[in-house]
């Protein structure tokens, strides 16, 4: 197979606290996620899904191990760059259960903020943002404030924002948890389409079994390790 690796994790450990409050969450996880793939991350509550996602997203510090994002080895027992935020804004798009749009910026400003920080000229970033908003069917809301949009519209705007910096990786933590079934299908289909069309690796945490058939593969956390399953197997979880 000549699929390109987007994320490679090797022997990753993560624990919190010391002494009495010590808790080990991940112990020696190793796995890969490829470009163009929509991968579901499914595990019981408290298993460490968010923690894992945040380590890949260079937000949470692992205890030890190695993380590659694309060709760049970003972590080997320590962050290999002082600027983990640069990695985030250049390579990664985040989507959460809540939209986390910035309330004092309108939709198009929310979407163009990171690209503009990355040095994309204003005009170009706005043009690309409008294309995204059209794609998500909220172009007419471009100059509205997040408070003026419905939950579903805001979530789509948040996905547009996650895509605006042309990320190699999208990390989605329960993006459908607040949506009804139809909307959830729409969002996951969108993520699937983005993965295929733009060759992006998408990891999506979900508790919703109905979404799993749309995913290419399932990752679960078993015995504090990450296990990969075909999506058919996972359905019976």
């Amino acid at each position: 197979m000549d699929r390109k690796i987007a994320i490679k994790v090797e022997n990753l450990y993560k624990s919190f606290g010391k002494g009495e409050s010590y808790i080990s969450v991940i112990e020696g996880a190793s796995f890969e996620v490829y470009k163009g793939e929509l991968v579901a991350l499914v595990a019981p509550s408290g298993a460490g899904k968010t923690t894992l996602l945040m380590m890949i997203g260079c937000v949470e510090d692992p205890t030890r191990g190695t993380i590659w994002l694309g060709d760049e080895k970003v972590y080997e027992n320590r962050w290999l760059t002082r600027e983990t935020r640069r990695i985030r804004r250049e390579k990664i798009g985040f989507i959460f259960q809540a939209h986390y749009l910035i309330p004092f910026l309108n939709i198009i400003e929310n979407v163009t903020l990171v690209p503009q920080v990355n040095g994309v000229p204003k005009e170009q970033s706005e043009k690309e943002a409008m294309e995204l908003l059209e794609y998500f069917d909220i172009a007419e809301k471009a100059h509205s404030m997040p408070s003026e949009l419905s939950g579903g519209q805001n979530q789509r705007a948040a996905i547009a924002r996650a895509l605006a910096n042309n990320p190699e990786i999208i990390l989605a933590d329960e993006p459908t948890a607040a949506l009804d079934l139809d909307r959830s299908f729409d969002v996951v289909k969108m993520l699937k389409k983005i993965a295929t069309d733009q060759d992006v690796a998408v990891i999506m945490v979900t508790h919703d079994e109905a979404m799993l058939p749309l995913c290419d593969r399932i990752l679960t956390i078993e015995n504090k390790k990450v296990v990969s399953k075909e999506s058919k197997e996972a359905k019976i979880l």
């Binding site: 968010t50 945040m54 937000v59 949470e60 600027e83 935020r85 640069r86 990695i87 985030r88 804004r89 250049e90 990664i92 985040f94 959460f96 986390y100 910035i102 309330p103 004092f104 910026l105 400003e109 163009t112 903020l113 990171v114 503009q116 920080v117 204003k122 924002r161 933590d173």
Partner: protein, 381 residues
């Protein structure tokens, strides 16, 4: 690049403006305080500038006639008038008194000068109505602040005076409004005892004290003479203290400037510090209120400089708006103060720089909060 500070302020505009205006009023008081100080310094010099004498001859060993009490005989003016280098000399008196007006007693300083003499004390350019003194008795020129009208009759001591002129801006070094009366009247008001006292003294064989006293003899020097040398001559021969115009001015203003600048300086510093603390607190709470958004910004990868510059810009803008509000406030009310308030542009500029520095200092608390914000907090943590 999107201006985050601008966007955020638009989002909370009302609150931002009200806060700026509030801080602006505090800073406006700072401007007024400085203006009061400037006014005091100017007031302190009005009287001696109006009189315009080159030399002030006062009781030996005193810093008279303003800073210390001084009495000299009126006829001293004659012996000084003939000293080499002196062109003319006159007696002059100063006394604080209460003048009855329609709105009650007003504290004034009365200047007594000889209306027929060579050195009139009234600066004619200040005359707004009527004329200066002409008669030797029972005429008065009053400054407009007192509230007397031209032609009004005023009872002072045992006599009735007529207001024959109204001046504008005549004040004593302490900021009290001035009236001018003739030297003879002034001497009577100042030095004559009551009838009862005189009778009493006579009965005891004490001769009535001469009312021919003045508080100072003022003199003009002749062209070509060194004022200092003339002053030294008088001091040596007449055993009096003699001050030049510059020295008298220094006596008047030095003490005043020292004390007033300390006093007003203290108030100013306190108000500026309070304003800084208020701005800092406001910026701090504004930062706390958007700490979630700041965490999101960090999470999606915005560099610190973008977020910090948002906070600093907001603080600076608040400082600038407060400064503008301060000037509007100060200019709206400064004429309503009883004493002179002088708003000067250089003072405002210095305050502007101080406000900018204070704003930057105030933003530090917000910036510290920004730098400490954890991107993990964005997602509920």
């Amino acid at each position: 690049m999107i201006n985050l500070a601008k966007r955020e302020i638009e989002h909370t505009l009302g609150k931002f403006l009200v806060t700026s205006a509030g801080v602006g009023m505090l800073l406006g008081i700072v401007l007024i305080m400085i203006g009061v100080y400037r006014g005091m310094i100017i007031d302190a010099q009005v009287l001696i500038d109006d009189i315009g004498a080159d030399l002030w001859v006062v009781q030996e060993g005193t810093l008279g006639p303003f800073a210390e009490a001084s009495r000299v005989h009126e006829d001293l003016k004659n012996s000084i008038g003939i000293i080499e280098g002196v062109e003319k000399a006159e007696g002059i008196t100063f006394q604080n008194m209460q003048v009855p007006t329609q709105s009650g007693l007003v504290r004034v300083m009365a200047v007594g000068y000889d209306p027929l003499g060579d050195l009139p004390a009234i600066n004619e350019s200040r005359l707004r109505e009527g004329r200066t003194l002409k008669e030797e008795h029972y005429e008065m020129v009053a400054t407009d602040k007192i509230g007397l009208k031209l032609g009004e009759k005023v009872a002072l001591g045992r006599d009735i005076y007529t207001v024959v002129g109204i001046t504008h801006g005549s004040v004593s070094s302490g900021g009290d409004p001035l009236i001018y009366v003739s030297l003879k009247d002034a001497q009577e008001l100042q030095f004559l005892y009551s009838n009862a006292r005189i009778r009493n003294d006579r009965a005891r064989g004490i001769r009535g004290e001469s009312s021919h006293m003045v508080n100072a003899v003022i003199a003009k020097t002749k062209e070509g003479y060194d004022v200092k040398e003339v002053a030294n001559d008088i001091e040596r021969w007449k055993h009096k203290s003699v001050y030049t115009y510059a020295q008298e001015k220094e006596i008047l203003t030095k003490n005043l400037i020292e004390r007033a600048s300390k006093q007003i300086g203290m108030f100013t510093v306190i108000l500026v510090v309070v304003s800084t603390i208020i701005i800092a607190l406001i910026i701090y709470t504004m930062t706390l209120e958007k700490i979630k958004e700041i965490s999101i910004m960090k999470l999606i990868g915005l560099p610190d400089r973008v977020i910090v510059s948002m906070i600093v810009q907001e603080t600076l803008l608040m400082g600038i708006l407060a400064f503008i509000a301060a000037n509007m406030f100060a200019h709206a009310i400064y004429t309503k103060f009883p004493k002179r308030v002088v708003l000067e542009i250089p003072d405002a500029l210095i305050l502007f720089i101080v406000v900018l520095i204070a704003s930057i200092l105030a933003s530090f608390v917000g910036v510290k909060k920004v730098l400490a914000a954890d991107p993990r907090e964005a997602i509920g943590g």
